[in-house]
Amino acid sequence: MTERWFPDAMPSPAVTDDTRPFFDAALEHRLVIQRCASCGTHRHPPRPLCPYCHSFAAAWTEVPGTGTLFTYAVVHQALLPALVDVVPYVVAIVELDGTGGTRLTSNLVDAPLDSLRAGLPVEVTWEDMSPSLTLPRFRLRSER
């Protein structure tokens, strides 16, 4: 098991046909992003069709998991009882490298709260929440 940052009582995602490849890959600690199999445009969150060419065919691309912090919010109020000992935590919107600007909602862990700013380089790390669920989190990356 990996390091843990969030409690077991976090909401667990319901998996649909559209999103199963994302979560299956995460179990293997691989970050994959959906692309339109017809026009190649990245899209996230995974959706059943491409809003640009309306193809229902999807492909999946493994990405390196590096990117930059696009925006963030530091949550100080425990919005679930199980988060009382976790706050403050950082919700991070990460712009992923190699995806045409695709952004992922995740968390920035182990980062000093007083030095956060958009543009910081980050890289994926993984949190095994249960035998059937692994989620991507992000850490600050020292080199660009």
């Binding site: 976090m10 998996v15 949550v75 919005l79 988060l83």
Partner: protein, 402 residues
């Protein structure tokens, strides 16, 4: 006379802190509607349309029966969600009376967060210390939450903090500028006897010293949690000319969203990088001003949706009162303050300081301004802009003298 839509009645129950209402939410809905009809001088039997919005629990069908409507001819709920819908409900009502589908439509909202789930918390979607909550993905909108809630995006405070932080990063908007919004609205509330926070003065130092809820939002950047209900009566100009009230014209109404905001910023679905820190209502604004043949410079007073202080800033930008990125300095300059600001805004205190009725109270304050009855009355007000929530599919109206 024309069938042009007019507001002829407004009504509300007492607004109280969450949990302080002594009657059930549904009873408050009935009382607010009867108060608005009394204000309009219209017999409840003559109401033939009802237009709720958001997740309204008081259903038009039971209200039609309990209020003794002779005949319900029209009932519709705008699909603009939550706080995006108050002005959309006004659009439904205006379309109904202007098309002849109905003669008298009541727009209403009853919301007692002390009796049901709190909107700002995740109790409704479960979560607890013992067992993990497996989310349901029955609806596509819920499916998007699989990419937000497991990461702690557990309520509006997180959802709306993300684009505001981006606004601060890109444009240099500051927490103090957000504080000016909150402090200005509290000053307006101090003159409004209905305002829940009216008796509690707020200084910029108080704002800056308050605890962080979700950085960048501090306690007084967040809307209230209250109990109450309110209602607005819409009919035609022709019918209004017979009434005893002073009608206020619905000059224009529009709803929708720019593509960049579909799904909301927290989920990232569809939002472009340049559209991320915008409210997504620029298209609504263009259509609204176009319909009425007026420009932002013609607006004398505004009620801009404020579930969080920064949402007011996004409203100022989307509706053309300043360029993107300039709303923080505009608020800091005192522009939003009554009586001396160039655009007195949220003159009853808004969601931050009057009560949280998801913006129908903003419509009511707009009507009061045009009747000359506001407790922060803008002299000779002729045009009032009322907006619903930025950052989600939304709506807006322009009110004017009939």
């Amino acid at each position: 006379m024309s069938r042009k839509a007019c507001v002829v009645g407004i009504g509300e129950t007492a607004y109280t802190k969450r949990g302080a209402a002594t009657e059930r939410e549904y009873v408050l809905a009935c009382r607010a509607i009867l108060a608005a009809l009394s204000d309009a001088g219209i017999d409840p039997a003559e109401v033939d349309g009802l237009a709720p919005f958001a997740d309204e629990r008081s259903s038009p069908w039971t209200l039609a029966s309990d209020l003794g409507l002779r005949q319900l001819r029209f009932a519709a709920t705008t699909a603009m969600p939550g706080g995006g819908g108050a002005c959309g409900a006004m659009l439904e009502a205006a379309m109904a009376v202007e098309s002849g589908q109905a003669e008298v439509v009541v727009v209403y909202r009853s919301l007692c967060q002390g009796q049901f789930a709190r909107i700002g918390r995740t109790e409704a979607t479960g979560g607890g210390d013992s067992s993990p909550t497996v989310m349901e993905a029955g609806l596509e909108a819920d499916a998007l939450q699989a990419f937000t809630a497991p990461f702690g995006v557990l309520g509006p405070s997180v959802m709306f903090a993300l684009p505001m932080r981006r606004h601060m990063e890109v444009y240099g908007t500051t927490s103090e500028q957000l504080g000016h919004v909150a402090v200005t609205q509290r000053a307006h509330a101090s003159r409004n006897p209905r305002a829940v926070m009216g008796p509690r003065p707020l200084t910029l130092a108080d704002h800056q010293g308050a605890r962080l809820v979700v950085d960048p939002y501090r306690l007084f950047d967040c809307c209230l949690e209250t109990d109450g209900a309110c209602a607005v009566v819409v009919t035609t100009a022709e019918r209004a000319s017979d009434g005893r009230g002073r009608p206020v014209a619905v000059l224009a109404a529009a709803e929708g969203t720019d593509g960049a905001q579909l799904g909301g910023a927290a989920a990232n679905a569809g939002a472009t990088a340049t559209g991320y820190a915008r409210g997504g209502a620029a298209g609504v604004a263009r259509r609204l001003f176009g319909q009425a043949g007026v420009s932002p410079g013609d607006v004398d007073v505004a009620q801009l949706y404020d579930n969080f202080s920064g949402q007011v800033l996004l409203g100022l930008e989307d509706f053309g009162f300043c360029a993107p990125g300039e709303s923080g300095p505009l608020a800091q300059s005192g522009a939003l303050a009554w009586p001396d600001g160039s655009l007195p805004t949220n003159t009853a205190g808004g969601n931050l300081s009057e009560a949280y009725l998801q913006g129908l109270n903003h419509v009511i304050e707009g009507v009061r301004q045009l009747r000359g009855e506001s407790t922060s009355q803008v002299a000779d007000a002729e045009v009032c802009l009322v907006t619903s929530s930025p950052g989600i599919p939304t709506s807006a109206i322009l009110l004017g003298r009939a």
